[in-house]
């Protein structure tokens, strides 16, 4: 463990450790969204580590660029939304998806890291599903991309299993007592995707328009698909304590 105890002041030890940051730090500082730590500390460690790995011939920086680009631009909840919309409009596909989700999702070309073994669970008027990983941050990357901060937070990981109805209330979802809440704790390499209920009033919409109603939260299980009058699909996500 290195200097991560220096929380509230500049860590001058960096210079003693010989990090040779001889050009500007702009790209390490980004937009100051990191509320918990001074951005310079991990940013400098990361910069030094990447330089070292490149210098040693372990990795080509262009490979890192390609990985980041894939998860910033191609692999995200739009993928999952297309799967859901197809399941809503094609009964055969829905059956395939519920019987063998990995194969059915691969029909769209979505596969790979953190989606090697998929299971889709279906919401109905009587059942609401909720996905969590209490032990770390397991999440179906090929269909949802990388998880949001709240999904990885102690608050969600601790409480989703003991108080799922309270967590759903945090997201503005009230679940009647007669509805069964099924929580799926992703303790192995099986990754879960929730198939939300198709909203009423969407009979006239095509697959593409339906996909536009399906947000990430609905596919984790902490929200519903949006109604056509609502946009964007993630509208209920913002909550305040």
């Amino acid at each position: 463990m290195s200097e991560h105890d220096h929380d509230d002041h500049h860590d001058h030890d960096h210079h003693d450790h010989g990090h040779h940051h001889d050009h500007d730090h702009d790209h390490g500082h980004d937009h100051g969204h990191d509320h918990q730590h001074p951005p310079s500390e991990p940013a400098l460690r990361v910069k030094a580590l990447e330089s070292l790995l490149v210098e040693k011939g372990v990795v080509d920086a262009a490979a890192l660029d390609a990985l980041v680009d894939a998860y910033e631009t191609r692999i995200g909840p739009r993928n999952g939304a297309r799967v859901v919309a197809k399941a809503w409009t094609d009964p055969d596909y829905r059956r395939r998806l519920l019987a063998d989700a990995t194969a059915a999702i691969a029909e769209f070309g979505y596969s790979g890291a953190q989606g090697e073994h998929m299971v889709v669970v279906e919401n109905t008027p009587a059942v609401r599903n909720l996905v969590v990983c209490t032990l770390c941050s397991c999440y179906p990357w090929p269909v949802l991309g990388l998880p949001p901060v709240w999904y990885k937070s102690a608050a969600y990981r601790s409480r989703a299993v003991i108080d799922p109805r309270g967590v759903l209330a945090d997201f503005g979802v009230a679940v009647p007592p007669e509805v069964e809440v099924r929580v799926w704790d992703s303790t192995a390499e099986i990754r879960y995707l929730v198939l939300p209920e198709r909203p009423p009033g969407t009979e006239h919409l095509n697959e593409e328009a339906l996909a536009g109603l399906v947000g990430r939260n609905a596919m984790i299980g902490v929200g519903d698909a949006a109604r056509p009058s609502e946009a964007p699909a993630e509208a209920p996500a913002e909550v305040r304590p």
Partner: protein
Amino acid sequence: MNGVHDMGGMQGFGPVLSEADEPVFHAAWEKRVFAMVMATARWPIDTHRHGLECIPPADYLRMSYFERWLTAFEALAVSHGVVSAQELSTGRADPAVPRAEPPFGPGAVPAILAAGFPSERPATAAPRFAMGDQVRARTLNPAGHTRLPRYVRGARGVVVLYHGAHVLPDTNAHGAGEQPQPLYTVRFTARDLWGPEAGATDTLSLDLWESYLDPAGDDHGKTS
């Protein structure tokens, strides 16, 4: 290990706060950490997870998610010989060590994205349990890595899915082999786990390896 990472059922962390229009990454360095782990980790995901679990509890809770990744990656890169401790502390490659070429290049990225790292292996034995079997999660407290959360140990549930044989994290995390075992989804009632305050119809399902489970057809109490 009974670390702070095993959070299921803990209380006091407050409401779940989500961020509107959240970006994939919140800082440029997070992108590089993520990509470095994906591209250069020469150890299984189980080892990566155990590396996170080995961060001291107070640090674990204080750190941001990708700061944990960075901290675990630094430690594992040294223990697996990707870099030496001296190289990590000086930031300079040791000229006496040959370069590790060829480097992981952009051409290798599509294969990772398309195939990932499946954990299923050919089954070598028939599964001990069948759909609908009553089972009890064993009371185990290993000092090393496990994917059997504390909150389910000793509880009785029912097998609802069988996934074939999967790499066992408990051994694989520690370099003791994949030792694949049958993997099941086991459903527990919320009231069995949390008591009468829990929703009467609510359930929790966990993916559990065969060695985490005992048969519970007609038992009366906890097994060990």
